[in-house]
Amino acid sequence: MMGSLRSTTAMFLKDFRSELRTRYALTALMLFVITTLSIILFSIGNESVSPEILSGVLWIIVFFSAMSGLSRTFVSEEERGTVLTLQLLAKPLTVFFGKLLFNFALLASLNTVAGTLYIILINDFVVKNYAIFLLTMLLGTLGLSAASTIIAAVVSKANTKGTLYPVMAFPILLPLLLTVISATRLAVEGAPFSEAAGEFRVLFSYFVVIVAVSYLVFEFIWKD
């Protein structure tokens, strides 16, 4: 078990250092956030928009940015032909959990940037309960990275990866998205923490369920 933990860390660090060197995913993700955010700012103009709608818009930015970059960890191995190399180096689950860790790190940094910019730049979006907001961000990032990692693994084997990814991920992410939007709404309404407990339970169990099902099916995806 310790051995596989070390290998998983090695897998994560490999993707991390590769990303630092090539910046394939990070640049795309950050530019996507900035582009969408500026479009939203332009379209809002001087109008005042209700915080409820703005909570939804935040997650639209996060969803589409994630869709633009999170498939790379598997797609790049497939395109470079290094899948075989990894198959010969490690057990399937080592690869999966390493990639999951990497996607989580990537999405966490993306969400930090997106969330911070959103709060700073959009005046109508005022978070009144930061505890709810931060926990929603954390649990949302966990669930989103788990689902998008396993879907990325599936989609990397297909011919039309780019367009297929959001199409395949959306129905699976919808329960998560609806829940984070409703929790973010509670955060801007300033609801007491206990009111969001139901949302947190859903988000946490969503993450657990997705990781568990990935654990069971990943080998079928990874091995030819």
Partner: protein, 226 residues
């Protein structure tokens, strides 16, 4: 022979569903009772509900064979799984269209994001993506495996809607057959017609599934030889 019986059966169900009058206090054996708020529009339940039921049944059957495929890697299981998924998608579309037309007359708009509408929409999205994925994979074994895996991943997320939707929106959808108090709105005649329709649609599905599987097997064998 059986298919002629099925044809006669379903024709009878269709005629009866439209011909029998809906009255306030049914006295005769051929009269339907009034369901408050639905009136003549109640007749949809003879078609819409069996369609939804058949769609769910077809997806469940597809899922069973998908799991069997992963366990056995026998291509025939994929043939059965995809044939059933295709029928499920068709019945799902029919249920969506009939439901939407009904919603226009009962709720005033074609689409309201009612919990049931949302869940049927998600089913359509999932199986739309399922078929898109299949067409993007060239290798037969890879296609069967990944389609099965995707159906399983999507399948485990669907129950979340049961917890989520009530928090977001209250349902306007009439309770099917039995309402919340456990009281049956239908009288004996209505129930008989409804159950006959349910049986008819299920038999229709089984017959169509057999046809599709036979066709797919013949194509499979022809390509193997050629």
């Amino acid at each position: 022979m059986l298919r002629f019986l099925l044809g006669i059966w379903l024709t009878a169900v269709i005629i009866v569903s439209f011909a029998f009058p809906i009255v306030a206090n049914p006295r005769q054996w051929f009269e339907f009772p009034v369901i408050p708020g639905l009136d003549q529009k109640a007749r949809i339940l003879f078609f819409h509900v069996p369609m939804s039921w058949t769609a769910v049944l077809a997806f469940a059957v597809s899922m069973v064979f998908a799991i069997r495929y992963l366990a056995t890697k026998n291509q025939d299981n994929d043939i059965r799984s995809v044939s059933s998924a295709g029928l499920g998608f068709m019945f799902c579309l029919l249920a969506t269209v009939t439901g939407s037309i009904w919603a226009k007359f009962n709720w005033g708009s074609f689409w309201n994001w009612d919990p049931r509408e949302t869940s049927i929409f998600v089913l359509l999205l999932i199986y739309g993506a399922y078929f898109a994925l299949r067409s993007a994979l060239d290798d037969e074994q890879k296609r069967a495996t990944l389609a099965a895996v995707y159906a399983i991943i999507a399948g485990v997320t669907v129950p979340f809607f049961i917890f989520i939707m009530p928090r977001i929106m209250a349902s306007l959808h009439p309770e099917p057959i039995v309402n919340t108090e456990g009281k049956i709105h239908m009288n004996g005649t209505m129930l008989t017609v409804f159950l006959s329709s349910l049986a008819g649609f299920t038999a229709l599905y089984v017959w169509m599934l057999n046809l599709r599987i036979r066709l797919a097997r013949i194509e499979f064998q022809r390509q193997t030889r050629g």
